[in-house]
């Protein structure tokens, strides 16, 4: 149901009042910080990279600026599809029947963005933490594999619980269990109704607490007694907010806000516990000795399995230059990398040429189950699932940093990791069958790895120097990783990336290999005979240059036409603007270009030199024509490449 305008305004009014009373937190609080300003700027001009960076820094993407704009509204208004997508994926709210939500939708520049907004659960925004919360709640009822390590006995029921969750969420348990970590059971005071304890447990396990607390006839306790019990237990376990939550009720938005806060708080508690226990207790030792580590089942962090990651052989080879390279373009980004004691600890010995190190993380199967890999592992009859005196050591096929990222995701749903290890994370997530982390890794690669793509003039200027700036990533690896892990987003990203820098890649042998591979992928599937990668590149290429032409306007170009006359140009100038949106492969220019290419290599060479000249700025004053020629040349080169590879596309 769509609300009428006056209804929306009325609810806006109501909302304002609630906010003024301090009852409701504002969905879109005013934010005048520098970071937020940068985010807004990035949303205006479509700078994906900065967006991702600021988001990683932890800016509130649902805040508003001085003009009441939220980043989502800005991005949607300015028509940056990718930015809108990124914001939505990162949890930007766009809720129907709210003032800001409607604003966002009505301001959308085009239908593509509008549909995206609508498709992103426009009517009910999803809580990004929901999967984590529901997993933890499900631990209460999960029968197999068995993960609980403490039994709480109430009058008739008994609860199978997890010490690490109890101690993360309840200060009372934290104290109690730190004193006696091997407690295997806990007895509920008989004065407290089991229902009350059940609710408390549900709360601790991030479940949704209903207003109906139970009790009444047939249960042995009246509702009042249950409520009283909840009061007592929440005080005993020091989870007072449970009691507050039970008392409060009513407004849907307030309830949802409280729920979001609760889950957020729970996550933070888990995170704190994760870093204070799991990370703190990780063991760093020589790989050779890693096998011999023996951890008792009753340990201070209640871990029931050890995950082992070996430092990679070539770790220092890669990392050292990274460390020592003072010419890093954006050194501040290093701050984003969680350089913990681990890395320093692990790195120094490697530099000293000491034997490889391994790191063991004491972890909990209950949390690992979030990955289907571990779920299968612990449900199977293999060694890892057998009960033994000492904890199993499961070695993971990835670097410790990556493993830490994975663990952090599993425990806290948090995913911030630097670009350097993004591809490793991607593979690890693929290996462990964690789809969400995979997507996240893909997002990181495709946003941070993007470079300053939106500033094309800069890029071209950079190319002008004819010594390309240091690349941030091996785009070939990215594309291949995308193929291998079945993330189409990465292939698209790769195509876009290549298209915007085609002049520096087109002649490389690796590029040809990549094209051939792409073609083979399709042949393997025996479908059509187009080459996906090239199609994508052509599409982005047209996007890249069309922007330029549109900027200048048709009339200017018509005036310029007689000055420089190449056959190809006439064609382009005449037709390109009209053909916008049409698949480039079918454009007549393509034919013209092919004619060029096919005539002789000499012409190609000549064209090539003219390009350089254009790029050099020799033909002064006509950047637009230069672009047009560049475009032609690049298309021509693609054709040439295809001919060479004997691929029909």
């Amino acid at each position: 149901m769509v609300l009428r305008k006056d209804q929306i305004e009325a609810s806006l009014q109501e909302e304002k009042k609630l906010i003024e009373d301090g009852k409701l937190k504002e969905d879109n609080p005013l934010d005048v910080s520098e970071t937020f300003f940068r985010l807004c700027e990035a949303c205006r001009c479509g700078d994906l990279k900065t967006c991702q960076e600021t988001i990683t820094e932890g800016v509130n993407i649902n805040a508003r600026d001085r003009f009441d704009y939220t980043p989502l509204i800005l991005a949607s208004l300015c028509g940056h599809f990718e930015v809108v997508q990124l914001l939505l994926e990162s949890g930007a709210l766009c809720e129907r029947d709210t003032f800001q939500g409607e604003r966002c939708l009505y301001n959308a520049l085009n239908d593509r963005i509008r549909n995206l907004l609508l498709s992103y659960d426009y009517s009910k925004s999803t809580d990004p933490l929901q999967p984590l919360a529901s997993h933890i709640t499900s631990l209460l009822t999960r029968e197999h594999p068995q993960t609980s390590d403490i039994l709480v006995a109430a009058a008739e029921e008994s609860f199978r619980l997890h010490k690490f969750i109890l101690s993360a969420r309840s200060p009372y348990f934290a104290k109690k269990l730190s004193v006696a970590p091997d407690t295997a059971s806990w007895k509920l005071p008989s004065a407290i109704p089991p229902q009350a304890f059940g609710i408390a447990i549900k709360y601790i396990y991030l479940g949704e607490i209903s207003n109906d607390v139970g009790g009444g006839p047939g249960t042995g306790f009246s509702e009042d007694e249950v409520l009283e019990g909840i009061d007592k237990i929440s005080r005993q376990l020091e989870i007072i907010s449970l009691w507050d939550g039970i008392l409060e009720s009513g407004d849907r938005r307030l309830a949802r806000q409280r729920r979001t806060d609760e889950v957020d708080k729970g996550r933070n508690q888990l995170e704190a516990w994760f870093s204070n226990n799991v990370l703190k207790h990780k063991i760093i030792l020589d790989t050779a000795r890693a096998e011999n580590v023996k951890w008792d089942r009753n340990n201070g962090v209640f871990a029931d399995v050890l995950l082992r990651a070996d430092e990679s052989d070539d770790a220092f080879e890669i990392e050292s230059p990274l460390e020592e390279d003072p010419l890093q373009r954006k050194p501040e980004r290093k701050n984003g990398i969680p350089i913990g004691p681990l890395r320093q600890a692990s790195r120094s010995p490697s530099r000293d040429g000491k034997p490889r190190k391994s790191i063991l993380f004491p972890v909990h199967r209950a949390m690992l189950l979030r990955s289907e890999y571990f779920l299968t592992m612990f449900s199977s009859a293999f060694r890892e699932a057998q009960a033994t005196e000492y904890l199993h050591i499961i070695s993971m096929d990835c670097s410790p940093e990556v493993l830490e990222v994975v663990l952090q995701f599993l425990y806290t749903e948090k995913t911030d990791f630097p670009l350097e290890i993004a591809i490793d994370v991607l593979f690890a997530a693929d290996h462990l069958l964690i789809e969400k982390l995979k997507m996240k890794a893909a997002v990181v690669i495709s946003t941070l790895g993007n470079g300053s793509m939106s500033q094309i003039p800069t890029r071209l200027d950079a190319a002008e120097t004819s010594s390309p700036a240091p690349e941030e990533l091996d785009i070939y690896d990215v594309v291949r990783a995308g193929w291998l892990t079945r993330v189409p987003r990465l292939e698209e990203f790769g195509a876009r990336y290549l298209a915007y820098r085609l002049e520096s890649y087109i002649d490389e042998e690796d590029f040809a290999d990549l094209v051939r591979e792409s073609a083979n992928r399709i042949k393997g599937r025996q479908e059509t005979d187009t080459i996906e990668l090239l199609d994508d590149i052509r599409y982005y290429l047209s996007e890249r240059f069309r922007l330029r032409f549109e900027d200048s306007g048709l009339e200017d170009m018509m005036e310029e036409e007689p000055t420089i006359a190449t056959e190809a140009e006439t064609d382009i100038d005449g037709k390109l603007p009209e053909d916008e949106g049409v698949d480039m492969g079918s454009l007549p220019n393509g034919d013209a270009a092919r004619g060029d290419v096919n005539s002789s290599s000499g012409i190609m060479m000549k064209d090539g030199s003219s390009t350089i000249r254009t790029l050099d700025g020799e033909m002064v004053g006509d950047e637009l024509e230069g672009d047009a020629i560049n475009y032609q040349i690049l298309l021509g080169k693609i054709e040439g490449l295809l001919t060479r590879l004997k691929l029909d596309a």
Binding site: T376, R383, D424, H431, E472, D477, L484, S504
Partner: protein, 826 residues
């Protein structure tokens, strides 16, 4: 590569595909040995992580296909070399021979043992295979997810299930290409054998069978795992159904030969339940409906008609002996095979008709044997009255007995219907139809039913509670429902009712009214209109009488000897006047009775009073229906008090008053009396009979003393009359409601037909007026449709009426119209 391109992104630790050749063989070796370990149940030492990693790497390096094929090969080899031989080992020679069609030599026990051995071996193999494949699937999860999905291959699990099917079940046992017998064949044969044993009551290992059926259910013809291609469905089930068909055909023939219907039904039901159980506990629920339909067709449907018709124990026997349980069984079985339960319905209907006709016949016999002598005596007036008195009341009893019998029958079948037939709708209508049939086959049903009501209104309901009365009436009404000629019933009912009302014989007016409201509900408003009018007349008359009394009092006629009068003014159209005095034929004017002067005066006074009030009406005095209270003085009577109060009919009063004028000891002959009173002769003789012949009420002395009253008999006032009662009633013979004799009956019918004629004509005109033109067929149909609520119009009568209407120019035939049609003439 462009030199100097710094990399900020670390290259993945694993090379990406193309360039690096994986050491497939070594990795595969690790995997293969692990798979072997899994199959030999040593998996607990294996590391999931390691195996998974190996498989993962192979897939990532595009070796998924090779891996897939290798695993499949491995499984095939394992199954063919390890599993199948083990099963063949368990395969005893007996089974082989049995399956290949050689003469059975083995005893049942040997067969069972051998069969169970094989089944157990197969079950074991299957369970092991499943377990291993689950583990293998876990390890190869990545391959399933990536390789199988991308290349649209069946998952390794389904593939290996296919291997099990091909390499264990379907591999021929001998190398001889003509001998295609495989484990699958033997398995089928063994399972069928076991089922057969189970059916014959031997004990078999059901859970073992179940697990084998389960295995067949888990295997498919193809790797697509289409639900309909389960091996269970494609290979076992058809055989099973064939075997079941054969079994139940024999079973049915045997039962029919050996057992009675009850046993048959019990057995059949038991078999059906057994099969259901078997499907649930031993085979697969998938077969449930199919095998049920086999049992139903072979055992029940094909034999049921014969079972129902069984002479000594069939449905007839059950009905007669109230075998409700067996009837219920029969019903259940019929319901299984035929939603309409045709056979059962026919059988029960036939029985109802038969019994109904028996009742009819018995009643007819009771009424016919007795009237005979009276018919013969009919010519002689003398003695006839007396003689017919008894049979007449007997006839009435017979009528009531008929109704009672029918009701009893009805009750019995209602009982059967609710108890055994679950109040089945279809059967209920069938029952009703049968009842309708035989009730209407009995031509006196309307009359008898009305008599039944009459009897009950007069006597039957005395001392009954309201509920009982209600129940009784309801029963009567149900019979009324079955009667087609409702107009006949109405006629009789009115006749009987009028007597009850006028003679004040009705016990409870409430019951009468209740009856009417019930009839109204059952048959409709028009039906009861006239009856209600009769009640109204009675009420109006009561008012009128009291008004008249007041009127007389006001007139101030102080004659103390003046007789009081109570008049019932009846609307002649509403009351069946002829019916009340049946001895007069139509057209013959009823002779006016000459009242004694004192009465005549009162009569004239009332007439004047009435006609003043309602001018233009005509009052006809029906002296034959009234009564009078007399106070008589018998001078010679014994005892102190010599006066008696006598209640007599109006005619008797007129006669008796004549004797007031006679000198003591004077007499009058019948003829004289007739001359002075103008009472019709037959009425007169009847009254004289009751006054002068009946023992207890002999107020007159007759000479000569005989039963019959002759025209020249002399009558004296009986001064020595004695009655112990102060007040008594001298009834007139045959004044009550009773069965009509055949003459009366034909009269009634004739009258009824006349009425019907009118009704039919009215209906025709109504229809034609509306339709203007209508074909003959349609007209007849509509007429019948309109009138069925009242009676079943005879087609010939309708035709005649049409003719008559045409003659009277209400209708005309449309010329040259085929089929014939009529037009309404305004």
């Amino acid at each position: 590569m462009i030199a100097g391109r710094g990399r900020r992104i670390r290259p993945p630790r694993r090379g990406l595909g193309t360039s690096d050749a994986v050491d497939f063989d070594s990795m595969w070796d690790v995997l293969a040995s692990s798979l072997r370990e899994i199959h030999t149940k040593n998996a607990s030492k294996l590391s999931f992580e390691e195996l998974y990693r190996n498989a993962y790497k192979l897939v990532l390096k595009k070796r998924g296909e090779t891996l897939y094929i290798r695993v499949k090969e491995f499984e095939a080899e394992w199954l063919a070399n390890e599993v199948q031989p083990r099963i063949i080992e368990e395969l005893s020679q007996t089974l082989l021979l049995a399956t290949s069609g050689t003469q059975m030599i083995a005893t049942a026990n040997e067969k069972r043992v051998a069969g169970e051995k094989l089944l157990r071996a197969l079950k074991q193999a299957w369970e092991d295979h499943n377990l291993c494949m689950n583990m293998t699937t876990d390890v190869l999860m990545y391959m399933d997810r990536v390789y199988c999905k991308d290349f649209r291959k069946p998952s390794i699990f389904s593939a290996s299930m296919g291997q099990f099917r091909d390499h264990v079940l379907r591999t021929p046992l001998s190398d001889n290409p003509d001998d295609q017998i495989s484990i699958a064949h033997i398995l089928n044969a063994v399972m069928l054998d076991q089922v057969q044993m189970d059916r014959e009551g031997d004990i078999v290992d059901k859970s073992l069978l179940k697990s084998c059926a389960y295995m067949l259910e888990g295997l498919y013809e193809t790797e697509d795992e289409d639900e309909s291609t389960k091996l269970y469905l494609t290979s076992f089930e058809p055989e099973f159904l064939r075997a079941s068909e054969e079994f139940y055909r024999l079973e049915g023939a045997k039962l029919l030969l050996e057992a009675d219907a009850g046993t048959f039904c019990k057995d059949a039901r038991k078999r059906v339940n057994e099969e259901e159980d078997r499907c649930r506990s031993t085979l697969s629920p998938l077969t449930l409906t199919k095998v049920k339909s086999v049992v139903e067709t072979e055992l029940i449907k094909k034999n049921l008609p014969e079972v129902i018709a069984l002479e000594a124990s069939g449905v007839k026997y059950m009905l007669d002996n109230e075998r409700l349980l067996e009837l219920e069984l029969i019903y259940e079985l019929s319901a299984r095979v035929d939603p309409k339960k045709e056979e059962l319905r026919k059988a029960v209907q036939a029985r109802i008709l038969e019994m109904g006709n028996d009742v009819n016949k018995a009643t007819a016999a009771a009424t016919h044997t007795l009237p005979k002598p009276s018919d013969q005596d009919g010519d002689k007036a003398e003695g006839e009255e007396k003689a017919s008195e008894k049979p007449v009341s007997q006839q009435t009893t017979a009528a009531i007995k008929w109704v009672d019998d029918v009701l009893q029958l009805k009750e019995r079948y209602d009982h059967v219907l609710t108890e055994a037939f679950k109040s089945d709708q279809g059967l209920q209508t069938a029952f009703s139809r049968s009842f309708t049939d035989f009730i209407n086959a009995f031509e006196r049903s309307s009359e008898y039913l009305s008599l039944f009501f009459d009897e009950n209104m007069k006597k039957g309901i005395k001392g009954k509670t309201e509920n009982e009365v209600d129940l009784l009436l309801d029963k009567g009404i149900t019979l009324l429902r079955y009667i087609q000629d409702k107009d006949m019933f109405e006629r009789y009912y009115k006749k009987h009712l009028s007597r009850r009302l006028l003679m004040k014989r009705s016990i409870s007016m409430d019951a009468e009214r209740q009856m009417i409201s019930k009839m109204k509900m059952e048959v409709g408003n028009t039906f009861t209109q006239r009856i209600e009018a009769m009640f109204k007349d009675m009420a109006v008359s009561a008012d009128l009488t009291s008004n008249y009394k007041r009127h007389v009092a006001e007139l101030g006629d102080p004659d103390p000897k003046r007789a009081e009068i109570e008049v019932n003014v009846l609307t002649s159209t509403m009351w069946p006047l002829e019916a009340m005095a049946p001895s007069y034929n139509d057209g013959e004017d009823r002779p006016r009775c000459i009242f004694p002067p004192q009465i005549e005066r009162i009569k004239q006074g009332f007439e004047k009073f009435y006609l003043d009030k309602h001018s233009g009406r005509q009052l006809t005095w029906q002296a034959n229906m009234g009564t009078a209270d007399l106070r008589a003085y018998f001078p010679e009577m014994k005892g102190a008090k010599k006066t008696r109060e006598i209640n007599v009919s109006t005619y008797a009063m007129v006669i008796l008053l004549l004797f007031n004028d006679l000198p003591p000891g004077g007499f009058m002959t019948t003829e004289e009396i007739q001359a002075r009173t103008n009472i019709p002769l037959n009425e007169l003789t009847r009254n004289l009979q009751s006054l002068g012949v009946a023992q207890k009420t002999r107020v007159l002395r007759k000479e000569p003393m005989s039963k019959d009253v002759k025209i020249d008999d002399k009558f004296y006032f009986n001064e020595t009359f004695y009655s112990q009662f102060q007040k008594f009633k001298i009834g007139v013979v045959t004044s009550g409601n009773k069965v009509e004799d055949s003459q009366e009956r034909s009269e009634t019918e004739k009258k009824n037909n006349d009425t019907r004629g009118g009704v039919i004509e009215a209906a025709i005109v109504r229809i034609m007026k509306q339709r203007k033109e209508l074909s003959h067929q349609k007209l007849i149909a509509e007429v019948i449709q309109q009138l069925t609520a009242r009676f079943m119009p005879d087609v010939n009568m309708v035709k005649k009426r049409v003719e008559s209407l045409i003659e009277r120019e209400y209708l005309e035939r449309i010329e040259d119209r085929e089929p014939a049609a009529y037009r309404y003439l305004a």
